[in-house]
């Protein structure tokens, strides 16, 4: 898999790559209405031209805690309609070369080198599931997340 077009999502200090095929658009500073009683991974809802779209905390989906800033919403075309993934910085487009090795976090499909930096590639299909959003992580993952 070389030459894959991807969007780079800064999430806290980390960088994640999202294949562009999944991306509908990027929204800067969306007005988010908190969704009361929702799990922590759901930051809230925002209006995308009349459509109500949930904004999800990317870090929480990956099981690595929470990242305060959600300056950008990367709108992903999920099987159940558009879903926003929060990014803490502007997502730049890039081309991924060959993977430099497997990634550890669930919902990711490998590590890629970008200059001096490393990005884990996101797999929306396994990342955007009921279980991940609801925060039901398998015990092994939970302890792994705590160790980080």
């Amino acid at each position: 898999m070389t030459g894959m077009q991807a969007l780079l999502l800064p999430v806290g200090a980390d960088l994640y790559a999202l294949p562009v095929d999944w991306v509908l658009e990027v929204v800067a500073a969306p007005t988010v209405t908190p969704l009361a009683t929702a799990p922590a991974a759901v930051l809230g809802l925002f209006n995308l031209r009349g459509q109500i779209v949930p904004l999800l905390e990317t870090a929480a989906l990956l099981g690595i805690g929470t990242v305060e800033a959600s300056a950008y919403a990367v709108v992903v075309n999920s099987a159940h309609g558009p879903v926003g993934l929060a990014a803490s910085g502007f997502p730049q487009q890039t081309v991924l070369d060959a993977s430099i090795g497997p990634s550890e976090l669930p919902g990711t499909t490998g590590l890629y080198q970008l200059g001096q930096r490393v990005a884990a590639c996101l797999d929306p299909e396994s990342l955007l599931t009921h279980e991940r959003i609801a925060g039901y992580l398998p015990r092994s993952e939970r302890t792994a997340a705590k160790a980080d």
Binding site: T33, A36, G44, P54, H130
Partner: protein
């Protein structure tokens, strides 16, 4: 007729046939169920005969041929040469299906000719349709049902006025939807104008006659627009009856079908969404619920089983209950299955275990209806119902039967809401759940059973901050107003920061990836583009209750501070039962329920009630027999009995009083006030 082309005639016939076929299906099922009298057989004969004649005129030879064959069958019955057996009904229903297919095929012919160029060619008359029809057999599958659907939903309603179709026109659904949407937009624009009058011209819109007139018409407009899309549940009951009948025949089961409250209306879209689910539930009842006649006999049940659909409107919701008197769901077997799926069932109550059959893994093993050929599980039923903003409840008693209720809002298009602010955020509360809102009044606050309560009229109601209930930071100022919400059985008050006003909200479902949030009904886009959360009061009340229970401050809500009067409600119709329960509980009574006379007697033997409220027509032991049994019982004889029945004849009333009832009210004249008056009168309590 002189000026009509044969194309027009065929088109007209297709329309007529739709309605006649619907009518025929209904009549045939009726014939099977009632055994049939001469009038019914004559009506069936007449329908087929007319259809045959019209088909011949329109040039549909195949249709006419099938109709002729059916006509002969019915004629045998009519002239007494043959009797009405299940086989005859089978043959007639199958014939009816063949007619439908033949007509649909012919209609496809019309549709494929429905191009400007087809006009002149079509004048050739009867043979013109045949090549077109035979050309596209594959179209039958796709365009056939689609073509039929809209008019089919109309046919029973129309046919009720037996053939008088003057004044009825077919309108494409999109136009009606557009109308409803525009009416909704007009209403919200109207609200904005009201705000503007106040802000810019310092004019209170409520004192402005012109504005009030406009408000009234806009409200009426919205109401009427919504009504254009309401259809009675009857539009799908025939389909359900037919499915039940066919399946019970193949499985050798003897089942009586009963439909009640079929004239209950709800949004066409909502009903369509539910149609498949109901079909599944009915099939499920036949397939898994109902035993074979010999099995039933062995356990002392009547050979003939009953499956009943009962629809009823309760406030702005419609409850559709499908009840069977079959074997019920074996909770232990659910437990075992759940265990096999790795679910910890130790601490689960029976109700919680029953809930499990809605889980995907579980429902596809034992409870899937293979007969439907689609492998649909009950989880799909729940998903579909929830998509229509509804919920599913299941009650089952082993050996006695199962009742599955689908509860949906009448319409999901627009919901009138009360807007409140709590924790710095706006929330919409569906108006039909709002009992009242009142300003903060320290004199009305009290403490009871370890939690704060607020006096609402003469009742203390638990109160909690809305922000706190929702886990939103910045709880309500203690001086904020209080909104009292109620669901079918409970009342709870919530403190808010302030009341914003009333608003018609176009509610949208949340992305299905999100977990189910019981306290949230959906969301809506505000005129300024922000997103407004619409809360679901029953879920909210549940949340508030479990939260306060969690802190260990509270005792059960109904612990008797003073002696509460208890009432036993006896009715086999769940909806009536629940309606009565909700009214009586709200009025402060302790309510128990029973499904028939026997059930009621065993309840009373355990613990007598202060009053019995009973229906007449019930399985096993009816209301008359129950009243008699109570009067004959040494310790129960003095309990007042109030009969609530749909039988309104003087003879029935007299009979009720003769067997010892203290009062008799009819369901048609039934409302909350009259029920409470009668109950209070008999108990000697003040209303």
């Amino acid at each position: 007729m002189a000026g009509m082309s044969s194309e027009q005639i065929r088109r007209l016939f297709a329309q007529e046939a739709e309605i006649r076929l619907g009518q025929l299906d209904q009549l045939l099922l009726q014939l099977e169920q009632t055994g049939g009298d001469d009038t019914l057989v004559r009506s069936i004969f007449r329908e087929i005969h007319t259809l045959k004649g019209s088909a011949a005129v329109a040039g549909f030879d195949e249709v006419s041929g099938v109709a002729h064959h059916l006509e002969e069958l019915v004629d045998d019955v009519r002239s007494g040469r043959g009797s009405i057996t299940a086989e005859v009904i089978d043959a007639l229903l199958r014939g009816n299906d063949r007619l439908r297919a033949a007509i649909s095929k012919a209609r496809t012919g019309i549709a494929s000719q429905d191009t400007p160029a087809a006009g002149p060619n079509a004048v050739n008359g009867k043979h013109a349709s045949q090549p077109a029809g035979s050309r596209s057999p594959a179209d039958l599958v796709t365009s056939g049902p689609l073509d039929v659907a809209p008019s089919q939903t109309k046919s029973p309603a129309t046919s009720r006025h037996s053939g008088d179709r003057a004044g009825v026109i077919m309108v494409p659904v999109e136009r009606l939807e557009e109308l409803t949407r525009l009416a909704g937009e007009t209403a919200s624009a109207h609200l904005r104008v009201g705000l503007m009058l106040k802000d810019r011209f310092n004019l209170d819109p409520a004192t402005c006659t012109e504005f009030n007139e406009l408000s009234r018409s806009v409200n009426d407009l919205q109401d009427r627009a919504m009504r254009t899309q309401m259809v009675p549940v009857a539009t799908i009951t025939d389909k359900l009856h037919r499915a039940l009948r066919d399946l019970s025949r193949t499985q050798g089961k003897d089942i009586r079908w009963q439909a009640e409250g079929a004239d209950t209306e709800l949004d066409r879209g909502v009903l369509n969404q539910l149609s498949d689910s109901l079909l599944h539930v009915v099939r499920n009842a036949v397939d898994h619920g109902i035993e074979t006649p010999s099995e039933r006999e062995a356990v002392g049940k009547p050979r003939q089983a009953t499956v009943r659909i009962h629809a009823m409107q309760l406030g702005s919701e419609v409850i559709i209950a499908v009840t069977d008197d079959g074997r019920g769901i074996d909770v232990d077997s659910v437990r075992q299955q759940a265990a096999r799926h790795g679910i910890d069932t130790d601490a689960m109550t029976d109700d919680e275990l029953l809930e499990l059959i809605f889980r995907p893994g579980l429902s596809t093993t034992q409870f899937v209806t293979d007969v439907s050929g689609r492998g649909v599980g009950l989880d799909v039923v729940r998903t579909n119902v929830e998509a229509a903003h509804g919920r599913v409840e299941i009650h089952s008693e082993l050996g006695v039967g199962t009742e599955l209720r689908i509860i949906v809002p009448i319409t999901v298009a627009v919901l009138r809401c009360l807007l409140v602010e709590a924790g710095g955020q706006y929330f919409a509360l569906p108006f039909h759940r709002v009992l009242l809102s009142q300003a903060h009044d320290p004199g009305k606050l009290a403490q009871a059973e370890g939690r704060p309560v607020v006096w609402v009229d003469t009742r203390p109601v638990p109160v909690q901050s809305l922000a706190e209930t929702l886990g939103v930071t910045g709880g309500a100022a203690p001086s904020g107003p209080v909104v009292v919400l109620s669901d079918t059985s409970r009342t709870h008050a919530f403190g808010v920061d302030r009341l914003i006003g009333q608003r018609d909200v176009v509610i949208k479902a949340l992305n299905p990836l999100l977990p189910r949030l019981p306290a949230v009904a959906g969301a809506s886009v505000e005129p300024d583009g922000s997103v407004l959360l619409v809360l679901d009061p029953p879920g909210l009340i549940q949340r508030a209750r479990s939260a306060s229970r969690g802190t260990g401050m509270t005792a059960p809500a109904h612990s008797p501070t003073t002696h509460r009067r208890s009432i036993l409600v006896v009715d086999d119709a769940l909806t009536i039962r629940e309606l009565q329960r909700s009214i009586l509980e709200r009025a402060g009574f302790d309510v128990r329920v029973a499904t028939d006379g026997n059930h009621a007697l065993s309840h009373l033997a355990e613990l007598p009630s202060d009053l019995v409220l009973t229906d007449i027509e019930m399985p096993n032991m009816d209301g008359f027999a129950l009243t008699q049994a109570i009067r004959a019982h040494p310790t129960l004889a003095n309990i007042p009995v109030l009969i609530l029945s749909s039988r309104s004849s003087e003879a029935d009333r007299q009979r009720g009083l003769d067997v010892g009832a203290d009062g008799y009210i009819t369901k048609s004249g039934f409302d909350e006030a009259s029920l409470l008056t009668a109950v209070n009168r008999l108990l000697g309590t003040n209303a």
